[in-house]
């Protein structure tokens, strides 16, 4: 720990020396490297959360870099990352996309799991209501994501098992499994891809959104 601290201090001095006398801040690569070494020295394992969860993938790195630059991600890069994420989607192993909307509602309500105060036995929730309106009877919903009330109805899905609905059913599965397949820098977690939710939990959420019996589509 002391070694890493000393390294950061040395890096800081080097950076400070680089910028001394400069009124304009340049050296983005140096700042990126310094940030990485500060992250390494600052964060540690706690409970079930390992510091290594910050060793993230190309999608997150590219989107964060675009955010820092204050620009949308380069179009071609964004499309390439979307294709990469799309390819990684695991489709339902038994071919069944729709589960139980009642279970889906519970998963949508549940925001638990994967923090350092949770334990390994905690069943992960979907955190859906934190950002989306879903069943309109739930008034405590967030607004970071779009409203999903009447999700299936608006999209004309009357029978999710019909061939007409196939594309929308698959899209809904894919969007929950890996939202970055459709929007590289989406704010939405990749629930299936990152192992937050199980296949059955994703099935139940697809049902919540697309089952004509679900309160979402009333």
């Amino acid at each position: 720990m002391f070694t890493s601290k000393a390294k950061v201090s040395l890096a800081l001095i080097a950076i400070a020396a680089t910028f001394a006398g400069c009124s304009n801040m340049g050296g983005n690569a140096e700042l990126d490297n310094l940030t990485a070494s500060i992250v390494k020295a600052s964060f540690r394992d706690e409970g079930i959360v390992k510091a290594s969860v910050l060793d993230t993938d190309e999608t997150n790195r590219a989107c964060a870099a675009a955010d820092v630059a204050g620009k949308p991600i380069d179009e071609a890069l964004g499309r390439a990352l979307e294709a990469q994420n799309l390819k990684s989607i695991k489709w339902p192993s038994n071919g069944v996309f729709l589960g139980d909307w009642k279970e889906g509602e519970k998963i949508a309500q549940n925001g638990r799991g994967l923090t350092w105060t949770d334990d390994a036995k905690t069943v992960n929730g979907g955190n859906c209501y934190n950002c989306h309106q879903i069943d309109n009877k739930e008034i405590s919903f967030g607004t970071i994501g779009p409203s999903l009330y009447n999700y299936g109805k608006i999209r004309g899905v009357t029978d999710p098992k019909s061939p007409d609905a196939k594309l929308m059913v698959e899209y809904t599965w894919g969007r929950i499994w890996n939202s970055k397949a459709y929007n590289a820098c989406s704010n939405m977690p990749r629930a299936g891809h990152m192992g937050i939710l199980s296949e059955q939990q994703v099935r139940d959420l697809v049902a919540l959104l697309l089952d004509p019996q679900s309160p979402v589509n009333q």
Binding site: A16, L31, V39, D45, C131, N136, K137, I144
Partner: protein, 266 residues
């Protein structure tokens, strides 16, 4: 106070479904918050903090009255709205809490490393929070004006910005996921946009704060720590450079906004 809380909770949950009810619920929460302003228990922590500042403590049995928080030894008024800043003696950018640790070690002989390792809400951490509460109160109503004159201060702003947008963990969250847009909410909780100046008494300008929901007084270090917890990030060390760089980014963005600390939160 207790009965008021019950009444407002009834107001919050007493409405039925629909858009109308939703507006009413939000209004009720506003009323609840307004009622909270009647009495802020942070007064108690302020009094404790002021006492701790003047008390001869630690192995050296010395008070903190010669502590230099940025405006010279012993000056308390106005320091809070200029922190974090660069300190020549430690050759580091420090926030209020990490600077207090330096003083507790150099003046009083307490171990900064031991206090930094102590969990929030325990032992010397409680004293540190009380000190930060009192010191912030001494700058109440003053406008944030962080220095960006020293190269390390500018470097920390740039690092803090990168930390703010850093995406990671199982949920790919960054600070910006929740705090990067105007007028968004998590559930019913309004989220300030911290990529720019969120205004007087919002975001960086509202901590330390007393949290009614858990009856705890939190400094900025604990606020950032709990954000990272909810982000599913690993544990940021107390007073670590990551937390200080992030505070520089938030503090510089709040330039000109008035501090309401110590605030009261739901």
């Amino acid at each position: 106070m207790k009965s008021k809380t019950c009444v407002s909770l009834l107001l919050i949950f007493g409405f039925s479904a629909g858009v109308f009810a939703q507006k009413s619920a939000v209004q009720s929460i506003e009323e609840y918050r307004a009622m909270l302003q009647d009495g802020n228990p942070s007064d108690l922590f302020e009094a404790k903090g002021e006492d701790l500042w003047k008390q001869k403590r630690g192995p050296k049995k010395v008070s903190l009255e010669q502590c230099d928080l940025g405006k010279g030894p012993g000056v308390v008024k106005g320091v809070f709205t200029e922190l974090p800043r660069f300190f020549a003696d430690t050759n580091r950018v420090q926030d209020l809490e990490s600077r207090l640790l330096t003083c507790m070690e150099t003046l009083q002989g307490l171990s900064a490393a031991d206090i930094a390792k102590t969990p929030f809400g325990k032992g010397e951490q409680n004293n540190l929070t009380a000190l930060a509460t009192w010191i912030s109160a001494e700058s109440k109503g003053m406008k944030f004006n962080l220095s960006q004159a020293h190269p390390q201060e500018r470097t920390f702003f740039e690092v803090g910005k990168r930390l703010f947008f850093q995406r990671g963990g199982p949920h790919d969250f960054s600070c910006a996921t929740c705090h990067g847009q105007d007028e968004k909410r998590i559930r019913l909780q309004d989220l300030p946009n911290l990529t720019k100046n969120p205004g007087d008494g919002v975001g960086f300008a509202a901590w330390p704060a007393y949290r009614v929901s858990n009856g705890q007084m939190w400094g900025m270090q604990q606020r950032l720590n709990d954000c990272y917890r909810q982000q599913r990030f690993p544990y940021p060390g107390f007073g670590s450079d990551a937390t200080i760089a992030l505070a520089v980014y938030l503090g510089v963005n709040s330039q000109g906004s008035a501090s309401v600390a110590p605030a009261i939160k739901r």
